[in-house]
Amino acid sequence: MNSRRRWTTALLLSLALAASACSGGNEGGQGTGDDGGGSGDGKGGKVTLSSWTLFSGGDGDNMQAMIDAFNSEHPDIKVENTVLEWGEYYTKLITAVGNGNGPDIGISHTSRLPDLINQGVVSSMDDAAEAAGIDWSTFNPNILGATVVDGKHYAVPIDTHPFVMYYNKKLLKEAGLLGEDGKPVFDNTADGFVQLLTALKEKLPKNAMPLALPSANDDVFRLWWALYHQLGGNDVISDDLKSAALDSGKAVQAMQYVQDLFHKHKVIRLNDPDFVKSFQSGTAAIIMTGVWTTGVWESTKGLEFGAMPIPKIFDKEATWGDSHTVILPVTKKEDPEKRKAAAIFADYLAQKGALWAKAGHIPAKPAIFDSAEFKALPYRSDYVSVASTVAFNKPSEKNWQIRDLAMFKFLNEVWANKMSPADAAVKIQAEIDKVLKQ
């Protein structure tokens, strides 16, 4: 009797367990089914689109606001937003689309687009753009051009987020290096910029550094990329994307300049664990980083700052930059109605550039620069000119791998003063070829 009762309890328990497991599975199944399949089958011909984005913080709030505005202005379309964690976004997008469970709308960086095309995650959206009536001439040609591969449009760029320069007005004023116009006073040359930094070093209090930059990876690589292109370099791979094409002389000159900032002029704090915080807390006079930090500085109490393009240190204006673009991932059942609706949504986001610019991004449509809404935002207008001088990557599916495996690895050694620029150039060239061959 006793054992029988126990047995019954066990059976019930495991049934309950199994049941809950099943229902969990079912819910998941239905969810993905909705995302992938369900075409415009809602009441009254309403098209429901699933959208995956990777934005968090201020970007995330602005994106949600734009989606809400879109939904209320378009009664026949409903966009449902799912925010994914940025670190795993691309892996999730690629695997989900591969399984046929991808969203109708996704976000891609311009530099990552060729990889997504190559993996069959994104297809050309010329058809949808035409149906939606997108006028490509309303986009900045430099930003748009980077999203066109083999003459076909694969994405709608909504911004560019380039590498720019910010300065602490209070510190520059203290050092007597802030002009009447509120901009730093210096010669726009290689020596001129170094002079500005060394003068700052002399005149600033001991705990303040002239320039905030990390000693490894992204932002210092971006400075190198900007200088390399100012010297006339053109990406690090050949036009056919098949082999390394680092312009060695220019690469070395740009590396030397940055290495000297660290080790000869000593105007950057070596191995600064948090360079953004250094600028935020007023222990660095100048910082170079992406425009997405504009919003961060604005919300920092007591920080008086200015924004401007990276100085023209060498022959011509150029900087590093990337763009956020809206893509239409490949779905199991290609539904022209959905694709059209998605293209309308994408163009709407680009059109809402003034709202998107709140975080600091430069809108992809130049007409927005003149809108009252955009002009009401301070700082942005000081660097919008950069939109046309961003040196985008060539459309190689290996862009990110080249950056992570070849560029960061050896450039970091140069910044640590453990490798000469000439040696690094040789090693980078070989490593890029290796990555391209894999």
């Binding site: 066990a10 495991s14 993996q119 191995n271 600064d272 664990p273 948090d274 791998q401 970091n412 640590a416």
Partner: protein
Amino acid sequence: MAIGPGAKAELAPAGAKRKRRWAGAQAFVFLAPFFAVYVLFTIWPMLKGVQISFFKWTLIRKMEYVGLGNFSKLMQDAEFWASVWHSTIFVLLTTPLMLALSLGLALIANRHSRLRKLYRISFFMPSVMSVAVASFLGLFIFQPYTGLLNSLLHLVRLLPAEQEIFWLSEVSLSWIAITALTLWWTVGFNFVLYLSALQEMPEELYEAARLDGATNGQIFRRITLPLLAPITRMIMMLQIIASFKVFLQIYIMTGGGPLDKTRPVIQYIWQTGFRQNDLGYASAMSYVLFFILLALSALQYGFNRRKEAD
């Protein structure tokens, strides 16, 4: 129901059998949910991995059959062997230190002292943290300018105010930082194993030794250590296998740098599979690592059995 005593005696063997089957069925019902999950998320991916390792396989698509291509590529891949070596360095650094540290802490916590509870709690506490939390604490301790360790060194004037030690940017210093963090974070589990072994020790052996006039050192060397040998062997084996799988704390603290010189093999496998979208090659590497670990465990197992037979 009326079953006579005779009938009961007759039925007994059959009843026992049925009872055993009954128990087996019950056990199965309890095991089934776990077993289903285990098959789905462990056994099946393992088998799938064998298949994938013979193909060129991106994150989402099977491309083409390459036979042993991934394996022969691996044999000549200096980066793979370098990363295997880095994991080995980590094993060689942490295993002996871990054994010594956990035993030392267990001895401290086993002493009759008023602080006994405090010792036990504080030695075990770090291991309840997740790897990410522990690693970020590691960053906070070892980073220059604002890190705890350098600030401390500045405070006691061991380090001149103008100077910084870059714990996370120099290869040898990075190993020290990673090892220290790992020991602090994971010692708790092994500490508990040693502590429970110490509490099982027969008290009369110690009494007898003391009566014979043995010193504390002699007692430790001749009685405690030999009696701890089985648990030591077990901890060593678990430790070696666990340490070969090191990844996240290194990834967070040094990113595998500088120049990939602290990159462990798991990081290389992960990068290959999920950053370079080459699941085929990543699977092949995983299997080679698996066989290396298997060989090591077999060796140790054989060694232990011989030891126990002695």
